[in-house]
Symmetry: C2
Amino acid sequence: MQKHTAISTIGEFGLIERIKELVNFRVDDASLHDNLIMGIADDAAVYRPTPGKVQLFTTDAFVEGIHFDLTFTALKHLGWKLMAANFSDIAAMGGIPRYATITLALPRKISIEMIEEFYNGASFACKKYSCLLVGGDTTSSLANMVISVAVTGEIDEQHVVYRTGAKPGDYICVTGHLGSSVAGLKILQREKKLFTDSPNQDKFRPNLEPYKAAIEKHLMPEPRLDLSRILTQQIKVNAMIDISDGLASEVHHLCKNSQVGAAVYEHNIPVESITQRIAEEFSQNPIDYALYGGEEYELLFTLGDDEYEKLEKLTNDVSIIGRITDKSNGIELIRENGESEPLRFGGWDHFKS
Amino acid sequence: MQKHTAISTIGEFGLIERIKELVNFRVDDASLHDNLIMGIADDAAVYRPTPGKVQLFTTDAFVEGIHFDLTFTALKHLGWKLMAANFSDIAAMGGIPRYATITLALPRKISIEMIEEFYNGASFACKKYSCLLVGGDTTSSLANMVISVAVTGEIDEQHVVYRTGAKPGDYICVTGHLGSSVAGLKILQREKKLFTDSPNQDKFRPNLEPYKAAIEKHLMPEPRLDLSRILTQQIKVNAMIDISDGLASEVHHLCKNSQVGAAVYEHNIPVESITQRIAEEFSQNPIDYALYGGEEYELLFTLGDDEYEKLEKLTNDVSIIGRITDKSNGIELIRENGESEPLRFGGWDHFKS
């Protein structure tokens, strides 16, 4: 069993010293180190922005009991995922991440070893996507654990992609596959319940192996910084957003911001076989996982026919799922039988009653 | 009584729309608006940094039950104070704030009206100190309320002041007065207890008026961006830190970072008469409030004699409280009777057992 050392044994400042060691890693992009004048060791971090670039600035928070369940989420995965969620916002603008801060509100049950795990996961994501951890705040919490990350990024001004640029006639595309993150979550929740209900918990072994791909997508999603670069530097997409609250919600956001309508074809939504299999086990529709699941961190974007022709030659990891239409057409889902219906606005809403 | 509308009536996206309206204010520094290309309406904010300046980046979080008690803290004050705490970190580097993001983890008891109050307070601070709110994240919370703010700032690279520059022989100075924030908190806590214990709560009226100055300092502290400019642009200070965890703790941090010792003279620590009066009521030492109280957001800095002579002509809101010494001398507190003792390292530690 893992050691469990109370944070009170080293105190807040001891914890900060430990965190300083944990974030003292190198990334491949040496310019991040060269331009960082002061990291975690003063009242604020200090860095030189790259001349001529504009700055991106985003934040995302995860709350215990809402975004994660510590009974089946390792702190290492949590660290990765929160960084990935923020990097995904940078990717959705076409940029690259640069520097990040982390604030942690920690209940007593969280040990030093768990914090180390968290920073190992966060650092792993930072090393992979070239971002430096340069500041933060650590505080206690009386109840649940809350983590908030802020990230700055950079991009040439002319390459920034907004939600506002979609035009009638554009293809609507997504990267990767959708629905597997929520499918993985369903399995984790089912196995947790089986464990809780088990008369002999010591001998309980969760059955996760057959669902590994979906569970990994849920616990360690990859921000699409790879495709984001291609979409903004090598071709020209008109509008882009990341899929954090489910495809349906993001299509609505993009259309609202661009003042357009959309026709999304159900049978074109890319869903992996593992997701179909899990949905079957739960007697649910895998398309609903894609439309209303969320936490995918894939990208939704629109572009003209000519640009799509160029894109096809650069990657096979994107799918056309529909067309942007006139605003007056509304936002439609075309079912496999050809019938259309309004695409219900939905997705994860934190304040649903 | 104030209206109490559940956030679930408008949902997360309704709340975001409302927040967008609340942060749509103008500040005096037009360059902030001119350089902001995208605020809260996309995956990340986009802004042009001022050419030639370096960027500052800091974050600070407040947790219900740890940093604030909603029974005596209005959300408006909370919004102000969290912005002030972050601006204070920017001030401690010598910079000016530019753009900020806010993440909110909200339990069910928080109403739309309370969120509006919070943003009114935060906006009030932002307007006063010229900072734009450009992003954020809102989520529910199963238990306590947690708020996290990240702020970027700017400064000429040659004007940045670190914690590392203090030299033996330097004067140690502080801005304003110390100890009144915790004195104000003591009164608020006492009146809360009297209210809770009161047999007739309807008729209970807290006795706050005589302590107003201290309570204001606790609820609406001012970041010292005014003096920070003078200290870095008009004279040259060698090291600086803001006083968020109490003077003793900050002297230790500054000395540790600069590899020096210090002699702090008890009788030179600036304490207002209201703080002395409150400490007397509680039979406590007002100097302990200054040393171990915290949440003041005054600045602690060191500078040479010549620079102090210049500073004296520019402001009378700073006090010399001691001298930087050799590291081997340690960090001493010189009592009024001339006796010296090690300055106990202390202050607010979030993980004390």
